[in-house]
């Protein structure tokens, strides 16, 4: 709730006068939110949550003494642990480490929660869940209790297949963040990136050239899957806003062209089919109807916009310099991009109609702007800081720039999580090129990929 209030006041400050912000923060919260939101008894600290393993229960109708099968027991354990990780990722709650839970007797049912023992661990909230086997799959019930009042603050049940237990945890995490914090969680979002992990070689060239294929993965790096199989160079993949399609650059036809893979239908579109020149770096408009991209079809790299089927092509830049790397503002009214028209690559911004072009950065070298989601009005980019690159974030309202990485390897290709609170990027800090995630304040670095080299992540919306 505090996050939402701050976000609202931040928006108001941009549009009107900053002086109006304080009164808004003092507006009373809605009573229903107060009654179910768990807070810490120490002001200013996040509430402490415990998330023990979920309880595995035998199927309905089975004798209560019957043992749950191993599959259900596995799912119960997985859901509890992944939920702990998901909740921990947003840092809205202080997750009590799992290794101290052994002091608390495991609950046999959702009715016998040992509140006094959780209170001894200084927990403000405890999440109690159970997994029941059903004819069609499983039923997962989950409750969040206020440990002091022993009242239920959140309760919901989910049914479905047992095939992907992690997805139950991700969904529960997003629901709890929404209900407790009015925060859009990102536990069900995905990353796309390109990888040379398969070690396959490009055909038709005498040089030893490795292919790069497009991959997707859950935000936490699980469920990594290959999308393209052409044994070609496939790069700069990016999620459509509905996360059902991936646009990317592929060299499978020789010169680079833009492709759109509808990953759930298994269909492929070629919006720049037979387009002249090199066509690169697609970027979806926030409503998913258009793609901005860079092309040399008129002789020099410029920014263009087309409908996602390739129609209604419009040229936005007209300049002898290099113009590449377009990114849309969350409202879809502006496009930031890279241009070296001043002599060095810098971040520029223009209206989505190409008008009012102006320079945003004054770095020795800056590229790959990526616009954050609301409420943060920020652009992250790659800046040359020494032998390698580091990530920086430009706050558009104030012009303030802050640095996120500090010379550990080269750090490139930032992309924001859809709630603007995290970024994914490529870093060589661990040797090879790998995808990492980091919080927007520079904390909580996590390595997402570990196999081969992995580049140019993009976070689903």
């Amino acid at each position: 709730m505090a996050g939402a209030a701050l976000a609202l006041s931040g928006l108001a400050a941009q549009q009107q006068q900053p002086a109006q912000a304080p009164p808004q923060q003092q507006q009373p919260q809605q009573p229903t939110e107060i009654s179910t939101t768990i807070s810490s008894d120490q002001a200013g600290l996040p509430p402490r949550f415990a998330v023990p393993d979920f309880i595995a229960l035998p199927g309905e109708g089975a004798a209560s003494s019957a043992k749950p099968d191993a599959e259900v027991a596995d799912a119960a354990r997985t859901i509890g642990r992944v939920l702990w990780d998901d909740l921990n990722f947003e840092r809205e709650f202080a997750l009590i480490p799992r290794d101290v839970y052994s002091t608390v007797p495991a609950a046999k049912s959702v009715a016998d929660v040992p509140f006094d023992r959780w209170r001894e661990l200084n927990a403000d909230g405890v999440i109690v869940g159970a997994v029941h086997k059903t004819a069609a799959g499983v039923r997962v019930e989950v409750r969040l209790f206020n440990v002091r009042s022993q009242q239920m603050a959140f309760g919901r049940e989910y049914t479905g297949s047992i095939a992907n237990a992690r997805l139950y945890a991700h969904t529960i995490s997003d629901d709890i963040h929404q209900q407790q914090r009015a925060l859009r969680g990102i536990a069900r979002t995905k990353l796309t990136f390109n990888s040379d992990r398969d070690g396959e070689r490009l055909a038709g060239t005498v040089e030893n050239r490795g292919v790069k294929e497009i991959y997707i993965a859950d935000y936490d790096g699980e469920n990594q899957r290959r999308v393209t199989t052409q044994r070609s160079l496939n790069i700069t993949s990016t999620w459509s806003p509905d996360a059902r399609s991936i646009a990317y650059t592929s060299y499978r036809r020789g010169p680079p062209q833009i492709f759109v893979s509808n990953i759930y239908q298994g269909t492929l579109e070629e919006p720049t089919k037979n387009g002249a020149g090199q066509n690169w770096l697609p970027a979806w408009s926030p409503d998913g109807t258009k793609l901005a991209f860079a092309s040399t079809r008129d002789g020099n790299s410029e920014i263009y916009v087309m409908d996602r089927d390739g129609s209604n092509l419009r040229r936005l830049t007209n300049n002898p310099a290099i113009d590449v790397s377009p990114t849309w503002s969350p409202s879809g009214t502006q496009i930031a991009f890279n241009s070296d028209r001043t002599g060095t690559p810098q971040i520029w911004v223009m209206g989505a109609d190409g008008l009012q072009q102006r320079q945003l950065t004054h770095e020795p070298y800056a590229d790959r702007p990526t616009w954050s989601a609301a409420p943060f009005n920020e652009i992250a980019y790659t800046a040359r800081t020494g032998p390698g690159n580091d990530l920086k974030i430009l706050e558009l309202a104030t012009g303030a720039v802050r640095q996120l990485t500090f010379g550990e390897g080269s750090n490139e290709s930032p992309t924001f999580a859809p709630n603007g609170r995290h970024l994914a990027f490529m870093s060589t800090r661990a040797g090879k090129a790998q995808v990492f995630t980091i919080a927007r304040d520079g904390k909580d670095l996590r390595q997402v990929t570990k196999t081969g080299n992995n580049y140019q992540p993009d976070w689903s919306k």
Partner: protein, 195 residues
């Protein structure tokens, strides 16, 4: 000449003097300039040491290797051709797509090869070192390829024989992380695609 004639004939009969110049006896001297041939005779002094024989000797030695290479190239498969390519890469300075004088010399040589094998079509690949970002380097590599192509066209190579593609920093030729590797990776690389 004419001033002498005029001074001799006097100022009163200028016209007569002009006419006289047209058919006077003193005109023949004008024909004298014809002896340009004499100049060659003076150089005949050096003809005593005409070691022309060496030149013919040098020519035969040059001729043999070329036909051999030509037949080798003509009969080679595209892969063999590209493995030991007669088309040399042109190298670039950091973040630059301008052709250095060395690069121009390389391209002059490549233009000669392309004129000799007029049926070849080639793809000019633009490559970059790893210091720039992957995204910007796509455009920089393209610019290098385009600059290279434009220079070859200016040397008389047909534009439709020259395609360009940029690989940015995706395919480094040298894996290292220092200038010695970078300088080899900033290049316009030639691939023969048809012959």
């Amino acid at each position: 000449m004419r001033s002498r004639v005029m001074s001799g004939a006097g100022t009163v009969l200028v016209l007569l003097a002009v006419v006289a110049a047209g058919c006077g006896d003193k005109k023949p001297p004008v024909a004298r300039p014809l002896p340009p041939p004499p100049p060659p005779p003076p150089s005949a002094a050096t003809t005593t040491r005409p070691p022309s024989p060496p030149q013919p000797v040098a020519e035969p030695t040059v001729v043999p290797p070329e036909p051999i290479r030509d037949t080798a190239i003509a009969s080679a498969s595209l892969d063999e051709l590209n493995r030991s390519s007669p088309l040399k890469p042109a190298f670039f300075e950091y973040d630059s797509s301008e052709l250095t004088s060395e690069a121009q010399q390389v391209l002059n040589g490549n233009a000669g090869v392309l004129k000799k094998f007029a049926s070849w079509t080639v793809t000019i690949e633009g490559h970059c070192d790893e210091r720039g970002t992957a995204e910007y380097n796509l455009a920089l590599g393209e610019r290098r390829a385009v600059t290279t192509r434009a220079y070859l066209i200016s040397l008389g190579i047909a534009a439709d024989r020259l395609r360009t593609v940029s690989y940015g920093k995706e395919f480094p030729f040298e894996p290292g992380h220092e200038e010695s590797a970078y300088s080899k990776n900033r290049r316009a690389h030639f691939v023969v695609t048809a012959k």
